[in-house]
Symmetry: C2
Subunit: 207 residues, 2 copies
């Protein structure tokens, strides 16, 4: 919404002096109340100002963020899912590191032989294990991975904003997108990462 200079001055006046009557706003601008009426109508109908009978206009300041919140709620995880990189739990740490490089991801999702999601192996986990002098050619990733249920995940129908908040709160760079199987375990269907969020952020600007 593009506001005229006069509308922006009205907002400033109300921010500083509100609640303030239309007459007093008009006085400050050396204009008549009638001249201001269309501007005040625009500003109240757009929710930037609110008018209370016998009190005057005051600044709400919530509109812009309400609009952002409404927009962001529309982003659903499944629409932004990346391909998950999944390895078996008996893969060696060495092969896991190779996979991480080949696939160029920050996190491997680990499954057992039934395809159940059992753990997560981060670049940091792999770096740590490659340092301590263990034989990474024989050690399986199951030894060094983080295990269910201590793993954060999202479902396809979750909101992207929920995933973003979870990554910040739990300090994860990416999250698996899971689906419940008949046996009550999870299957990994996709991946969402801070890269995904950064791409959406850029698209908000570019679109």
């Amino acid at each position: 919404m593009e506001l005229s200079q006069r509308q922006q001055r009205i907002i400033e006046i109300v921010k500083t002096n509100g609640p303030i009557t239309g007459e007093h706003i008009a006085d400050q601008l050396s204009l008549t109340r009638a001249t201001l009426r269309p501007d005040l109508a625009i500003l109240t109908m757009s929710g930037i100002l609110e008018a209370r009978p016998r009190v005057g206009y005051y600044y709400t300041g919530q509109t812009r963020h309400k609009l952002f919140a409404d927009e962001l709620k529309q982003y659903i995880v499944k629409d932004y899912a990346s391909h998950p990189v999944v390895v078996k739990s008996d893969m060696s740490v060495y092969d896991a590191i190779c996979t991480l490089f080949l696939e160029d991801v920050s996190t491997l999702f680990v499954i057992n032989h039934d395809g159940d999601f059992v753990g997560v192996c981060s670049r940091k986990d792999l770096l740590r294990s490659s340092m301590v002098g263990e034989d990474i050619h024989t050690m399986p990733v199951s030894v060094i991975m983080s295990r269910m249920p201590n793993i954060n995940y999202v479902f396809a129908e979750d909101r992207v904003i929920y995933a973003a908040n979870l990554m910040i709160e739990k300090e994860n760079d990416s999250l698996p997108i899971v689906q419940e199987k008949d046996n009550g375990q999870f299957e990994v269907k996709g991946r969402i990462s801070k890269t995904t969020i950064t791409k959406i952020f850029v698209s908000l600007f570019k679109e």
Copy 2:
């Protein structure tokens, strides 16, 4: 901006039938042109619809994204700078890995003994070097780092959206925030990362 149901219906009519005159919109709603005038004023002043003389109203559809773009332009790198983790170029790869763990970052920024910014060392660079069997206790990070000028960076006054776009295009997880020194070299003043962007994304929703 909260639109009334009637305003939303007008938008739908113009989307489907535009360009369309005010009279035809009024016909479709079984209302008079006079009744609609305030709504059409709101919708054109807010930029959702545009009116062309002798043509009618048409839908611009740009408002929401223009508003986002205007908002995002206000985010400046310096206001979101994190503490940079900086190491000397003669630090051993082993010590660099320890620093990375202790500081819990994805990237180390490397300086020479004059404090000039000379390179970047990522978790991936360190993981790779720890795998190939080199002696990471004696090898300095300068051997494995990415070097200037092949490094992406931003300045404190740059827009966050520029940094976000650079991280996506160059596939960097974080960027150094630099300042030019008297000798023409750069000093590292801060860091901005995909985590920063994800935090801003979450704050857009929560504020």
